[in-house]
C-alpha cells in the first residue's frame, strides 16, 4: 500500500498526485514511468513520473481523467492509499550535451517534459520549452518550466496566452532561429505525431515518449508493441522513447483504441454507481 500525500485537480480534468515511494524517488530518472493500481480489483496504468524529491521520498505524476481508473483515482485524497505504485519503469530519456534542445509538452506532457528539460539544462544545453493547450486555463507548471528553460514559448488554440495556433506553429519557430540539435516531445500521440511531421523537413532528430497500453510494464506481456523502423519494439523495455520519424503512427493510434468500447462501457457503469 502506497500513501497519497496530495491529489488535486490543477486544470480542468488534469490532476497531480504525489505519493510516498522512497525507493522510486531514489532511483527514478527523467523520462521513466511508474505503474499504478488504485485498488485490488483495479487495472494497472502507466504514468510518467513528472517530479520527485529523493530526500522526502516522494514522486509526483500528472494524469488526465479519461476513464474509470483515472476517475477513481481522482476521488482519492491525502492519506488514502493506492494498491500498487511500481517503478521506475522504462528507459530514462537520453540526456547529453546536444547544444540547443526544444522540449515540447502538451496535455499531461506539460508536466512530463519538465524533468527532461531540467536534466538537459543541468547538462548545459540551451533549452527552449514549448507548451501547447486549448486555452490559457488549460496550461500549468509554467513557472516550474521557466526555471529550467532558457526560453518558454506558449501556444494556445484560442490565443488567450502566447501565440495563437497549435503545434503546426512549430514550423515557423524552427524556421525563425538557429535550428535546434534535438527536439523532444511529450503529450498525446497526436501531438507527438504532428510535431514529428514539422521537424522532418528540417531533418532534426526528434524523440517522442510513446503512450501505449501496458499491463506488467516489465517486458512480459507484449501489449505495448509498436512498430519502429519497420520492426516490432516493446515500449516498456525498449522505450518508451523512440525516434519520432521511425514510428508507425497509424498503427499506434489504432492499437491505443483497442479497448475503446470497453473503456466507454466501464466509464458509463462506474458513473452510474
Amino acid at each position: 500500500m502506497v500513501k497519497i500525500l496530495e491529489n488535486k485537480m490543477i486544470v480542468p480534468n488534469i490532476c497531480t498526485i504525489t505519493v510516498f515511494a522512497p525507493e522510486i524517488a531514489g532511483s527514478v530518472k527523467a523520462g521513466q514511468f511508474a505503474i499504478l493500481r488504485v485498488d485490488e480489483d483495479g487495472e494497472r496504468i502507466p504514468l510518467t513520473v513528472s517530479d520527485w524529491d529523493a530526500e522526502r521520498g516522494t514522486i509526483t505524476m500528472v494524469y488526465v481523467m479519461v476513464g474509470k481508473t483515472t476517475q477513481k483515482l481522482a476521488t482519492l485524497t491525502t492519506n488514502d492509499t493506492l494498491a500498487t505504485v511500481v517503478g521506475p519503469l522504462g528507459n530514462p530519456m537520453e540526456i547529453d550535451l546536444f547544444g540547443k534542445v526544444i522540449c515540447i509538452g502538451g496535455c499531461y506532457g506539460n508536466a512530463s517534459i519538465y524533468p527532461i528539460a531540467r536534466a538537459l539544462k543541468e547538462k548545459g544545453n540551451r533549452v527552449t520549452s514549448i507548451i501547447e493547450g486549448r486555452s490559457s486555463y488549460m496550461l500549468y507548471w509554467q513557472e516550474k518550466l521557466k526555471t529550467v528553460s532558457d526560453q518558454l514559448i506558449v501556444i494556445t488554440r484560442d490565443g488567450s496566452q502566447g501565440k495563437a495556433g497549435h503545434i503546426g506553429n512549430l514550423k515557423s519557430i524552427l524556421a525563425a532561429g538557429t535550428p535546434p540539435d534535438r527536439v523532444i516531445v511529450n503529450g498525446c500521440n497526436y501531438l507527438m505525431m504532428r510535431a514529428a511531421q514539422e521537424t522532418l523537413p528540417f531533418k532534426i532528430k526528434t524523440i517522442v515518449s510513446l503512450n501505449t497500453l501496458m499491463i506488467d510494464g516489465t517486458g512480459m506481456c507484449g501489449v505495448c508493441r509498436v512498430t519502429v523502423n519497420s520492426s516490432t519494439k516493446f515500449a516498456c523495455v525498449d522505450g518508451p522513447h523512440f525516434d519520432a520519424h521511425e514510428v508507425d503512427w497509424d498503427e499506434l493510434a489504432q492499437r491505443r483504441k483497442a479497448y475503446l468500447s470497453e473503456e466507454v462501457q466501464t466509464l458509463r457503469s462506474s458513473m452510474a454507481q
Binding site: S27, D41, T218, M220, G222
Partner: protein, 468 residues
C-alpha cells in the same frame, strides 16, 4: 519370536480415476476441472503401490521426493505423516500435484507402468497438499538455528518460492522481491484458475510467510533498486525472474488488434481477473473465434480460457496430434471441452480490416517429412495449399525469451545467446560473485518443476557458500 512370512501383495492395476467436473459444465466456468481424490480413493490408490526396494519414481523427480514413503503413509491413513515426508523435499505439493508432468517423471518408470496400472503419484501428492490445507492448523517444520546470513531472492515464482523455503529452513534470513502485485509468478499470472486455483497459490505463499520469509511485491530489481545495491545488503542473491519477451510467429499482421501473446491473454485473465470484467477493471475482449498458435500446455490453457469466455477456440498446429508437446491430460481435457484442432496447418499471415482488427488467418497445409533433431517428424509445407480461416483473435503461444530486466541492468553477468543468464547447471552459480540463478531465466521456458529443481540445487549451493 518368529516373523510371519509376508503375504505376496496382490497386484491391483485399477488406477483410481480422479473425479472431474462434467465437460459441458466446466467449459462454461473458471472453477477447477479436476476435483481431487477423497480420502477413500486416495487410500485405495496408495495401497496399490508395490513399495519397490529400488524405486524408479524418485530418480525421475527433479526435487527427489521420497515417493514410496509418502504413499505408504497415505495407505496407512496417516496423512499428517505423509505431508511431513512430502514437505521435506517439496514446499509446494498442492501446486506440483496439479501441474507437474508426472507422466514424464515419477510415473514414467513406475514398476506398474508396463502393466498399464501406473500409480497416480501426482493425484496422491495433490491429495496430501489439499488435505493439509483443510486442517485447522498447518504444521510448521522446525527451522535450523539462525545463521545471521541474508539471502535476497528476485522473483516470487516457483523457483523463487522453492529456494526461499529451503533457505529459510536452513536458518538464513530470506527476502523475496517480486515485480508484480501478487506473489506466485507464472503460477499466478500464467496457469489458469481452472487448472490451478489462485487460492492454492496464495495458501502456499502464506505458508512461506509464516515460516518467516519476507516478501516485497511491486519491487523490480534492476529498476527500483540495482542488483549491486541489493548485493551490498545481502550475502547472496538468487535470480529467478522467469519469462520475458513473448515470441510471435514470424509473419505479417502481428500487431492487429485481437492478436495477443499467450502471456498477455493469460495475464489479463488470471492476474488481472479479466473474466470478471466489468466488475474488475481490466478489460478483455469477448472474441467469437479465437485461433491459438502452438501446441504446448500454454496453448491448451489459452484455448480453454477462450472457450470459457464464450468463444469458439481452435488450436492451429503445424504438426499432427502425436507431436503435440502438451501433456496428454491437457489435450484430452481440451478435446472433451470442445476445443477444435487444425493439425498440419502453418499460419503464414494475419489478415485485418481497415479498422485494424483481425479478421482471418492465412495458412498453408503441411505434410510430415523426415524426423528432425528432436526425433519428431518435421512438417513440410505443401506448395500452393494456401487457405484462409476466419478468426477475430489470434493468440501466439509459442514461448518466450527469458526476462530481460536483470540481464539489461546488471553488469558482470554472463548472458547466453538467447538472453538467458548463464549458470553452472550443477550449482546454479552465475559469473557474478554471490549471485545464483535458476528457472526460466537460465534455461528459457520450461516446466514449473524443473524450475523448482534448479532452485533446490541453487539453494543448496548458496547454503554451502554461506556456511563456509
Amino acid at each position: 519370536m518368529s516373523e510371519e512370512p509376508k503375504p505376496k501383495p496382490k497386484i491391483d492395476l485399477n488406477r483410481r480415476e480422479m473425479p472431474k467436473q462434467e465437460e459441458h459444465v466446466r467449459s462454461h466456468n473458471f472453477l477447477e476441472v479436476a476435483l481431487g481424490y477423497t480420502a477413500e480413493l486416495a487410500m485405495a490408490e496408495a495401497r496399490r503401490c508395490l513399495q519397490c526396494k529400488k524405486p524408479f519414481c524418485i530418480a525421475d523427480c527433479p526435487v527427489q521426493i521420497k515417493i514410496p514413503e509418502f504413499i505408504q503413509a497415505i495407505a496407512d491413513g496417516d496423512f499428517a505423516a505423509g505431508v511431513r515426508i512430502l514437505k521435506e523435499r517439496n514446499s509446494l505439493p498442492s501446486v506440483c500435484g496439479r501441474v507437474c508432468p508426472q507422466e514424464e517423471q515419477c510415473e514414467k518408470h513406475c514398476a506398474l507402468t508396463k502393466r498399464g496400472g501406473t500409480i497416480a503419484v501426482g493425484r496422491l501428492e495433490r491429495f496430501l497438499g489439499d488435505w493439509e490445507a483443510a486442517q485447522p492448523e498447518m504444521a510448521l517444520p522446525e527451522l535450523s538455528s539462525p545463521t545471521g546470513k541474508k539471502v535476497a531472492i528476485i522473483g516470487g515464482g516457483p523457483a523463487g518460492l522453492t529456494a526461499a523455503a529451503d533457505l529459510i529452513k536452513a536458518g538464513h534470513q530470506v527476502v523475496i522481491y517480486e515485480a508484480l502485485h501478487k506473489m506466485g509468478g507464472v503460477l499466478y499470472y500464467g496457469i489458469p484458475e481452472f487448472r490451478l486455483p489462485k487460492a492454492i497459490v496464495d495458501r502456499e505463499v502464506d505458508y512461506l510467510r509464516r515460516l518467516g520469509v519476507e516478501m516485497h511485491t511491486d519491487f523490480v530489481v534492476g529498476k527500483t533498486r540495482s542488483m549491486d545495491s541489493i548485493l551490498e545488503e545481502f550475502d547472496a542473491v538468487f535470480v529467478a525472474t522467469g519469462a520475458g519477451l513473448p515470441w510471435f510467429m514470424e509473419m505479417s499482421g502481428n500487431n492487429f488488434n485481437g492478436v495477443y501473446s499467450a502471456n498477455e491473454y493469460l495475464t489479463r485473465i488470471n492476474l488481472m481477473k479479466g473474466y470478471a470484467y466489468p466488475k474488475n477493471d481490466t478489460p478483455i475482449k469477448r472474441h467469437r473465434k479465437v485461433a491459438v498458435l502452438g501446441g504446448g500446455n500454454v496453448a491448451m490453457d489459452c484455448a480453454r480460457t477462450a472457450l470459457r469466455l464464450g468463444a469458439e477456440a481452435t488450436i492451429v498446429y503445424r504438426r499432427s496430434r502425436t507431436e503435440l508437446p502438451a501433456r496428454l491430460e491437457e489435450i484430452e481435457n481440451a478435446e472433451e471441452e470442445g476445443v477444435k484442432f487444425h493439425y498440419l496447418t502453418l499460419p503464414v499471415r494475419t489478415i485485418g480490416d481497415d479498422r485494424f482488427n483481425v479478421t482471418a488467418l492465412e495458412c498453408l497445409k503441411m505434410e510430415l517429412g523426415e524426423p528432425d533433431a528432436s526425433g519428431r517428424r518435421s512438417p513440410v509445407p505443401i506448395p500452393g495449399s494456401e487457405f484462409i480461416l476466419p478468426f477475430d483473435s489470434v493468440i501466439h503461444a509459442i514461448g518466450n525469451s527469458p526476462n530481460p530486466l536483470i540481464p539489461q541492468t546488471t553488469p558482470g553477468l554472463t548472458i547466453g545467446r538467447k538472453g538467458n543468464i548463464v549458470i553452472d547447471s550443477e550449482t546454479g552459480k552465475t559469473s557474478k560473485e554471490r549471485v545464483w540463478a535458476g528457472g526460466d531465466i537460465a534455461t528459457g521456458a520450461a516446466t514449473v518443476i524443473s524450475a523448482m529443481g534448479a532452485a533446490r540445487k541453487a539453494a543448496s549451493s548458496i547454503h554451502e557458500f554461506l556456511m563456509s
